[in-house]
Amino acid sequence: MAKQKTIDNRQRAIGDERQSSASFIQAIGAIVWKDLRAEFRSWELISSMLVFSLLVILIFNFALELDVKTRQSVTAGVLWATFAFAGTLGLNRSMAIEKDRGCLDGLLLAPVDRSVIYFGKFFSNLAFMLIVEAIVLPVYSVLYNTNLFQPGLLLVILLGSIGYTSIGTLLAAMSVQTRTRDILLPILLFPVVFAVLLAAVKASGGLLDNSTFADVSFSINLLIAYDVIFVAASFMLFDSIVEE
């Protein structure tokens, strides 16, 4: 009995060493792996974002029966409105999956810094958003007869998505704890993310109007600044938001 106890204690000591080796990056990777694995099995989140995005594009396509030039001028606005609304669906669902079965508690119980959970969910949400955007862009290009595959525009979409998802992940973690989470997230998110969307629309619009990269560099710099601010603020606030 005493021998068994000694063995058990030794195993626990080994366990403690193991626990300390759980690195920041490894734990973030685990959350991203888990989210992608579950999503590629159920397609619950991406499919709803995608169907919604395609419907919005189709509705705008029929609602704005404009000439080619005017269509080009509204492209940036339509595109970002589509991404923003579809994004809220994804952010809500991504956090609801954690909350509904108590999995958020499971994450919070892990002996890692809680910013790991934030960054894990942030990278997962960003991946979902980029996947949806990668499918929406060619569809949009065909329907609106506009070439969206420009390196500058793709960079703006990436920067805009980072800003949107960084603050969106934080606010989704907050709203998911309320009964009115589906309504609350857009109400909280859109006023905060307005600045990112504005800079993204300006930059995208400029690039689609064949402006040079230098012409839109102010908006792009603004996007980079928002990304840094939102990621840093979310990193600092996440712990207090998920704790009761």
Binding site: Q4, R18, R37, A38, L108, L109
Partner: protein, 232 residues
Amino acid sequence: MITVKKLVKRFGLKTVLRGMDFEVKPGEFVALLGPNGAGKTTFLRILASLSRPSLGEVNIAGFKLPNEAAQVRARLGVVSHLPLLYGDLTAEENLRFYARMYGITNAQLRITEVLRMIGLENRRRDLVRTYSRGMQQRLAIGRAVLHDPEIMLFDEPYTGLDQDASSMLDDVLKTVAAQGRTVVMTSHDLARAEELATRFDILSRGVIADSATRRQVKKSNLLEFYKQALAG
């Protein structure tokens, strides 16, 4: 192993725990009993570092909460009435995910060991959403013991289980306790608590109203002890 002094927890104007004192020695299995709203779940959430105390001291395995929460979490295994598992992952994938979160090396070996212990080795590649409630609860225990914690917290683990599933869970809980772990379990099921625990604490109106060991509460008298504690 667990020392709690003058613990107070307030939610706005409502005070749930009112200066609670609580102590658990290594290897003890404590059943925390009490009516709905007594503060059992709130107390367990504070021990699990999921909630911050408003006032008071909480010390677990030599670490203070909330300042040393990460060290405490590394030594805790928590099972609640929710499984804390992902339905779209298999049992093995769920355990692999938690193994990575806890930084367990030789994870595959440990996962196989745990799946064997909870009797789910043959269903390891099935999605968790296809599991019965009882199987999910067994897997939840597997998740909680994966990192070989010293202390286990069970919050109403029998909720929603049928008779067969409850009996199976009894066996798993006995195995977990027999491995020398310190266990705190909240429950409404006095019969099950009587069968498993070595000590019974009655939580009423935010404080421990009474406490007794298994020897003090003679068999089949737990109900009487419980009623007297609540009445007092």
